[in-house]
C-alpha cells in the first residue's frame, strides 16, 4: 500500500494542497482526475521527490518512500523531453536498468535482453535502432512504458500517458497496465479527461486542491463528485456526454 499522509506541497507562500491524505492499493489501477491546476502533477511530483514536501509523509509498505526509490517507475510527460537527443529506442529502454546497475557499471548482455523483451511486449522490437525523434507520439509513449517494464518496480506512476497518442498505442499500453495489475503492482495514472474512466480504472481519486473523493471507481465516479471538482455546469455537461456516449 502506498500511503500519503497529511501531505502539504506546492509553492512556499501558497501550497497547492494542504494536509492531503490518500492511499493507493496494490493490484489496482488508480486514476487521478481533476481540472487543470488541481494539483495532480504536484501530488505525484511530491510523491516522487521531484519537489520538496513541506509537511506530511509518503510511505510504501510501511517504509518511507525515500528509501525505496528503486521500487518506483515514473513515466513522465513526453513534452518535457528533447526528442533530438542522440539516443535510440533500445538505448532509451536500457536507461531503465541504470538504477540497479549503480555507478560506473555499464549495461551488459542481460540488460540488453531485458530491454529487447520489454520492447517486444509493447510491439516495437523492430524499431529498436530508430532515433527517438523518428517515432510517433504513441510509439514513443510505448517506449517509455517499455522502460518502466525493465525497471521491475512495485509502483508505477504515469503522468497523462494517453495525451496525443493513437488508439492502437493506448490499447497496447492498457494491456501492459493490466498485466502489471495481475502482478500485484501499484499503478497510478494521472488522467487528462473523463473518457473511459470506468473502463480503465479500478480505483479513482478526484482532486481539486485536495481530495474530493477517493475509492473504487463505481462509488467515486458520480455526478456530484465530478460537479464538485469541476464547475457545476461543466461537471454536468461532461458527465452527461460521457455517460450518454
Amino acid at each position: 500500500m502506498l500511503q500519503i499522509h497529511h501531505l502539504t506541497a506546492g509553492y512556499a507562500v501558497k501550497p497547492v494542497f494542504e494536509t492531503l491524505s490518500v492511499d493507493f492499493s496494490p493490484g489496482a489501477i488508480t486514476g487521478i482526475i481533476g481540472p487543470n491546476g488541481a494539483g495532480k502533477s504536484t501530488l505525484i511530483k511530491a510523491v516522487l521527490g521531484l519537489i520538496p514536501r513541506q509537511a506530511g509523509t509518503v510511505t510504501f509498505a510501511g517504509q518511507p518512500i525515500k528509501k525505496l526509490r528503486r521500487q518506483i517507475a515514473y513515466v513522465e510527460q513526453r513534452a518535457d523531453l528533447d526528442l533530438s537527443f542522440p539516443i535510440n529506442v533500445e538505448e532509451l529502454v536500457l536507461t531503465g536498468t541504470y538504477s540497479k546497475l549503480g555507478l560506473f557499471k555499464t549495461p551488459g548482455k542481460a540488460e540488453r535482453q531485458a530491454a529487447q523483451a520489454a520492447l517486444a511486449q509493447v510491439k516495437l522490437l523492430d524499431f529498436r535502432k530508430r532515433q527517438i525523434g523518428e517515432l510517433s507520439g504513441g510509439q514513443l509513449q510505448r517506449v517509455f512504458v517499455a522502460r518502466a517494464i525493465v525497471q521491475e518496480a512495485q509502483v508505477v506512476i504515469l503522468d497523462e500517458p494517453f495525451v496525443g497518442i493513437d488508439m492502437h498505442s493506448e490499447a497496447e499500453i492498457m494491456k501492459i497496465l493490466q498485466a502489471w495489475r495481475e502482478a500485484g503492482k501499484t499503478i497510478i495514472v494521472v488522467h487528462h479527461d473523463l473518457n473511459k474512466v470506468r473502463q480503465y480504472f479500478d480505483d479513482l481519486v478526484v482532486m481539486n486542491h485536495g481530495i474530493i473523493a477517493a475509492g473504487p471507481v463505481e462509488q467515486v465516479y458520480q455526478r456530484e463528485t465530478i460537479q464538485q471538482a469541476f464547475s457545476a455546469d461543466l461537471g454536468a455537461v461532461l458527465f452527461q456526454t460521457v455517460v450518454e456516449a
Binding site: L48, G49, L50, R69, R70, I72, Y74, E76, D80, L81, D82, F85, P86, I87, N88, E91, T95, Y98, S99, L101, L103, F104, T106, P107, Q131, Q151
Partner: protein, 283 residues
C-alpha cells in the same frame, strides 16, 4: 604544398612547435568531448560564461607565481557557484544571472591583468599563444586530458541520463546536482588548458562547434563524443599549421577551421543537412 612540407620539417626541428602540436591535439580532443555534453544540456552560455570568468584567476595566479590553471579553475568554479546562487535567490532568469556574473568577472580580470603589467601579454591570454606552450603546461594538459577521459568513460551513463532525462534520473535516486557540479569542475579544467591554444574569448567555440558538427553526423551519443573529439583535433592541427605558416594568432586560426568543418558538415551531413532540405526529401 611547399608550406606544408616546411611545416612538417619545422615540426622535426623545433621543440616549441612539437609542444604546440601536442597541446593543440589534447585540447581539441578534450573540448570536443566535454563540449558534447555542454550543448546537449543546453549549457552553451554557461560554457561561455565560465571561460570568460577565469580571467581574474589567471591574473592572480600570475601575480602569485602559481600555475595559471589553478587560478583559472578556482575562479571558473566560483563564477559557476555565484551564477547558481544569484539565479536561485532572485526572480531573475538563469541567462540574466550568467550575463551579470561573467561580465563582472571579465572586467575585473582585465583590470587585474593591466595592474600586473605582466610580460604575459593580455592579447595572448585573450586569443591564445600556442607557440609558447612550456613543458610544464604540456604535462598539466596531459593530466587534465586523462581526468576528462576518465570522467566521461566512468560516468558515461550518468552523464547521458542526466542530460537527456534529469527527472527520471532524480526519481531513481541519482544525485543529478552532483553530476552537474562535477561537469562544471571538469569544464573549468578544460577551459584552463584551452586558454593557451585558443584563448579565453574563443574557448566557447571549441566547446560548441566541433560538438555541434558531430551532432549533425550521428544519432548515437558515443559516436558523437568520438566525432566531436576528432573534429576538435582536426581543427586544432590544421589551425596550428595556418597559425605557424601565416603568423596568425592561434586561437582565431583554430576556431575558423572548426567553423569551416561545421559549414561543410551543415551542407553535406545526412541527418539535418542542407542538400536534403533543398531537395525537399526531409521533413
Amino acid at each position: 604544398m611547399t608550406s606544408i612540407q616546411s611545416f612538417i620539417m619545422a615540426l622535426g626541428h623545433y621543440n616549441f612547435l612539437q609542444s604546440a602540436l601536442l597541446a593543440s591535439i589534447m585540447v581539441g580532443l578534450m573540448s570536443g568531448v566535454i563540449g558534447s555534453f555542454i550543448i546537449l544540456r543546453g549549457m552553451s552560455l554557461m560554457g561561455d560564461a565560465i571561460s570568460h570568468s577565469v580571467l581574474p584567476g589567471v591574473a592572480l595566479a600570475y601575480m602569485l607565481g602559481i600555475n595559471l590553471l589553478w587560478g583559472a579553475a578556482g575562479f571558473g568554479l566560483f563564477a559557476a557557484l555565484l551564477i547558481g546562487f544569484v539565479a536561485n535567490h532572485s526572480r531573475l532568469k538563469n541567462d540574466t544571472a550568467i550575463g551579470i556574473v561573467f561580465s563582472a568577472f571579465f572586467a575585473l580580470g582585465f583590470i587585474l591583468i593591466s595592474m600586473a603589467e605582466s610580460s604575459t601579454n593580455l592579447h595572448h591570454i585573450l586569443f591564445g599563444n600556442v607557440l609558447a606552450v612550456s613543458d610544464q603546461d604540456l604535462m598539466t594538459t596531459a593530466f587534465i586530458l586523462v581526468i576528462v577521459l576518465l570522467f566521461v568513460v566512468l560516468l558515461f551513463k550518468e552523464l547521458q541520463i542526466t542530460s537527456f532525462d534529469p527527472h527520471f534520473a532524480q526519481v531513481y535516486g541519482l544525485n543529478t546536482q552532483a553530476i552537474q557540479y562535477a561537469l562544471m569542475i571538469v569544464l573549468t579544467l578544460v577551459t584552463g588548458s584551452a586558454l593557451q591554444t585558443v584563448g579565453i574569448i574563443l574557448i566557447v567555440a571549441m566547446l560548441i562547434t566541433p560538438a555541434a558538427t558531430a551532432f549533425l553526423w550521428t544519432n548515437r551519443l558515443d559516436w558523437m563524443l568520438v566525432l566531436a573529439a576528432s573534429f576538435g583535433l582536426l581543427a586544432s592541427v590544421v589551425g596550428l599549421y595556418f597559425s605557424y605558416t601565416f603568423n596568425w594568432a592561434s586561437g582565431p586560426a583554430i576556431v575558423l577551421m572548426a567553423a569551416l568543418i561545421f559549414l561543410v558538415s551543415f551542407i553535406l551531413a545526412p541527418k539535418q543537412g542542407f542538400i536534403q532540405k533543398l531537395g525537399g526529401q526531409h521533413d
